[in-house]
Amino acid sequence: MSNSHRTGDRRILWLLLSFLFAFGLWEAAGRWPISVAFSPFSQTFLAMVRMVANGSLLKAYASTVQPLIIGFIICGIVGGGFGIWMGLSRTTEWFSLPFFIILQAAPMAAVIPLVTYIYGIGLTSKVLAVAVLAAPVIVMNSYKGIRNTPPSLIQMCRAFLGTRTQVVVKIILPHAAAMIFTGLRLGLAMGFIGVVIAELLITPTGIGDLISYHSSVADFPEMFAAVASIVLIAAVTIHGLERLERRLFPPEVRGS
């Protein structure tokens, strides 16, 4: 017990050291300076404190999370549902799998200008930008989760008189749940990319506005603070989901 306690302490020590090292490098590089536009860690940090204090960061996120959450929820329900359907139905698989394989490999950010062209510069376009990036991985993971069900479990369920519905509800879906969750987590990570691209490319709002505004007036510490904040939020959210996933579906029980 005390032993594991000590290794835990040591891990935290290393973690702090690595942060210290990275921030130290950043500070040194900023003071060198590499470029006048590259502000050191200390100034960025102070800028972030200022932006939190004056409320501009909070206001920016209040608008950034809207397309992110709406797009992600739509993707989760429609994309996850479609992936499950694709895994269950050979016909659906036949006509849509090639499409999603291409979508998954394609740099979807390239279609965002097209989205703007069709849907204008409002919230709809930004929601679509999130959806377009997040959907492929959500659909494909749900599909693979369904398709990876061990045939022997399905055969077992049939042997004990399970109906098709019972096979789906009691075997296939529980088995796929872990992989569907992974898909949602990866989809949210893509959604963060989508929303930032949308806010930089379509019309500057929220965090995209903070980044482009501060860079245009050469407030580089503020600009870096805005960039750092979105990196921080995305990283913490995704990491949190990963931990939740490991708790909900421990590797021994997830079966896939």
Partner: protein, 254 residues
């Protein structure tokens, strides 16, 4: 003979889509209340035959009659024990054992009570809320066996149930299986590739030929399992004769 036949195979043939002919013209009647083994060289289609009897895969030709009725799919009078156990990794031992009853809509209280009784019989007391990954191979197959016993089918189909279990556990397991079956009126059809296992367990051994598999010979080891101890059986002259007899047939196909 056919008066007490519970499972009848009539001209069973199976050819896979790939063109491989696994079984040809298999005719046999399995007597009720006995343990029959399907034994043959590897690839002779014995597992395929068992799955056809179980209604899990269709035969290409011929028909299977169970209690006089033609098999169209799985049925309540047959229960299956799988080679790879086929346990739900996300379910506890208790739920896995009760799973067949769960599919039949038996209320939770009732099916868990049946499962708990079987847990005692197969020696898994204390593991009710464990998950399959926490159990050894032998214990997992006990769960598989208990699940098959829980639905109280007349016929138990066992597909190489002990093949993924180590030799020592396997012997122990064979003895316990005979114990479990002694006070139950079950018909067991058992697939194995082990000659000793077949001779030790079976009332009747159906030897299949090499692919395409067909019934080559039937051997009835005249071993008195009711009075002899497991170790006595393994020294019994009839047991040893049966082992030798099986080997004489099987080596032709190697």
């Amino acid at each position: 003979m056919s008066a007490d036949a519970i499972v009848e195979l009539k001209g069973i043939g199976k050819t896979y889509e790939t063109g491989v002919e696994a079984l040809r013209e298999v005719n046999h009647s399995f007597p009720a209340g006995k343990l029959s083994t399907l034994l043959g060289p590897s690839g002779c289609g014995k597992t395929t035959l068992l799955k056809i009897i179980g209604g899990l895969i269709p035969a290409t030709t011929g028909e299977v009659l169970v209690e006089g009725k033609r098999v169209e799919g799985p049925g309540a009078e047959r229960a299956f024990v799988f080679q790879d156990f086929a346990l739900l990794p996300w379910a506890t031992v208790l739920r896995n054992i009760a799973f067949g009853l769960e599919l039949r809509g038996v209320p939770k209280e009732e099916r868990f009570e049946i499962a708990r009784k079987l847990i005692g019989e197969v020696g898994l007391v204390g593991f009710e809320s464990s998950y399959p990954h926490q159990l050894s191979g032998g214990m997992r197959q006990r769960v598989g066996l208990a699940r098959a016993l829980a639905v109280d089918a007349n016929i138990i189909l066992m597909d190489e149930p002990f093949s993924s279990v180590d030799e020592q556990t396997r012997r122990k397991f064979q003895e316990e299986l005979l114990d479990l079956l002694r006070h139950r009126q079950k018909t067991v059809i058992f697939v194995t590739h082990s000659i000793e296992e077949a001779a030790y367990l079976s009332d009747r051994i159906v030897l299949l030929s090499a692919r395409p598999g067909t019934v080559s010979q039937i051997i009835q080891p005249n071993v008195d399992r009711s009075s002899e101890s497991p170790d006595e059986i393994r020294r019994d002259k009839n047991y040893l004769d049966a082992v030798d007899q099986i080997w004489q047939v099987l080596k032709k196909y190697l």
